[in-house]
């Protein structure tokens, strides 16, 4: 509040809703933005354009982003599992933006039947679903530490070193560079 911004942009989630109300009471304009899925990008761009007086540029960007979200995914040629955490194994389900990225890049998320954005599963479920790739959000170039754990070696993709290490800045959340993320994932899967 001491910096008196003209506008505070907040991600629409529990504690931020309260913070937005407090800031509004202090006379600071706020906006809560849903940014969880590809289809949220276009509306977010339009909202920010309206609030910053750049509606024309925002509309042009929003049209591109809407087309990205509305594009029918290509037929899947490979399969993957996104591993968020190894112990307990937390995977990405259908409700997540990463599931959309995989579909648009031509890969089937083996946990696409789980409606939630993420879920805890048993390691044996990952073994049974046998993804061709294990995708991990990581800025590192070396496979994650769990790749060396004996129990994880039961997963074929781990044994064969089929890891997709995806930088968090590009793949971590939906944004104007989501198109780049899809193209990069597609290219890596094709290698």
């Amino acid at each position: 509040m001491t910096r008196r911004p003209d506008l505070v942009v907040l991600y629409n989630a529990g504690p931020n809703v309260t913070a937005a109300k407090q800031l509004e009471r202090a006379g600071i304009q706020t906006v809560l933005i849903d940014l969880n899925r590809l289809e949220d990008l276009g509306p977010a761009a339009r909202t920010l354009g309206r609030l910053t007086g750049r509606q024309e540029q925002a509309e042009s960007l929003a049209i591109v982003l809407d087309s990205l979200a509305g594009r029918p995914p290509p037929p899947s040629t490979t399969s993957l599992a996104f591993i968020v955490w190894d112990n307990p194994p937390i995977i990405i389900g259908h409700g997540s933006y990463l599931d959309q990225l995989a579909a648009q890049a031509g890969a089937r998320n083996v946990f696409g039947d789980i409606a939630a954005p993420s879920a805890q599963v048993s390691l044996e479920t990952i073994v049974a679903r046998d993804p061709q790739w294990i995708a991990v959000l990581s800025d590192s170039t070396v496979p994650p530490a769990f790749a060396k754990r004996r129990e994880w070696r039961a997963v074929r993709a781990v044994r064969e070193g089929h890891f997709l290490l995806l930088p968090g800045s590009l793949f971590g959340r939906p944004g104007p560079r989501s198109g780049d993320a899809i193209a990069q994932l597609r290219a890596r899967l094709a290698r």
């Binding site: 307990p88 805890q120 599963v121």
Partner: protein, 313 residues
């Protein structure tokens, strides 16, 4: 008869852990399946060893502090283990075993601090000071853990809490071997203290008159139970209710004599955790429940039922 029944329950719990799972393994292929040999079998055995260890540690600590609410994690060990785990991630310690080892060391550090507090002013491990010290050290470690997590950028640091909530996903033949080699020593120390623990129930002064070396017994039981719990937390995080509820259930059936109570708590704790883990893996498959949720959902109603029958009788 009741020992046979308990042994059968334990064997059944282990068999179910191996036969049932979220992945469909045909019955005829159970003995050849990689999923069974490399994932289910070590997980079932680890669940049994951890559950048994927590059951015995709980029974020993409840006798030591003469408090029915004593739980192996009440003495600050979970806070210490959590701090160790979070530090391992924050400092990017390399290697697949960094997190469990750091958690074990964190639990040992908490154990050492509580132990020192228990000796302050020549108090010779006063149960009240052990309990208060355990709660204080646990809260202090939890506060530092929360500070690190809230200040850190790494999103994965928050996932350390997932590990800390407890589970057996990290089970492998390596972890089974480590626990199988480590646990018998503190277990043997606790079993050997059965008679002095019976005497301790009469009060420290009476136990001393009846020939027990009270200070030595308290030291041995505290260290053995804590070392057992530290190993359990290192391989499976903090799994609640087993160490609290199982000794009470065993006491209601086998009485207060530790010679029977401790083996019953081991078999009962092992069976409960193996069974709870099978449910955790299967009831919401392909998703998995945190096993601590299941131990509470099974353990508390069973405990309440036994308590009711015991009170009416």
């Amino acid at each position: 008869m009741k020992w046979t029944l308990l042994a059968l329950v334990a064997v059944l719990a282990l068999l179910l852990s191996v036969v049932l799972g979220p992945a469909a393994v045909p019955f005829g292929e159970l003995l050849r399946s990689d999923i069974v040999w490399n994932l289910r079998a070590p997980r079932a055995l680890l669940a049994f060893l951890v559950g048994g260890s927590l059951g015995v540690a709980g029974a020993g600590l409840q006798a030591l502090v003469r408090n029915p609410l004593a739980d192996p994690f009440l003495l600050g060990l979970s806070g210490g283990a959590g701090l160790g785990a979070v530090l391992a991630i924050a400092l990017h310690l390399p290697g697949p075993w960094a997190l469990p080892i750091a958690a074990f060391l964190g639990a040992l550090a908490a154990l050492g601090l509580v132990y020192r507090l228990g000796l302050v002013g020549g108090a010779s491990l006063d149960p009240r000071i052990l309990l208060l010290g355990g709660v204080a050290i646990g809260a202090f470690a939890a506060a530092i853990t929360t500070a690190i997590v809230s200040l850190a950028d790494a999103a994965e640091l928050r996932n350390a809490f997932l590990w800390l909530w407890g589970g057996l996903s990290g089970a492998s033949w390596d972890s089974v071997l480590i626990v199988a080699l480590y646990a018998p020593i503190p277990l043997a120390v606790l079993f050997a203290a059965s008679r002095p623990l019976d005497l301790l129930a009469l009060g420290e002064e009476s136990a001393g008159y009846l020939g027990a070396d009270v200070d030595e017994v308290k030291r041995r039981v505290y260290l053995a139970a804590s070392l057992l719990t530290a190993a359990a937390v290192a391989v499976s995080g903090v799994i609640g209710f087993v160490g609290l509820v199982v000794p009470h259930i065993a006491r209601l059936t086998w009485g207060h004599r530790h010679r029977s109570l401790l083996p019953a708590a081991f078999l009962g704790g092992g069976a409960l955790l193996a069974f709870a883990d099978t449910l955790a893996r299967t009831v919401v498959a392909p998703r998995e429940l945190p096993v601590g949720v299941v131990t509470a959902l099974i353990g508390v109603p069973v405990f309440a039922l036994l308590l009711k029958r015991w009170t009416i009788a």
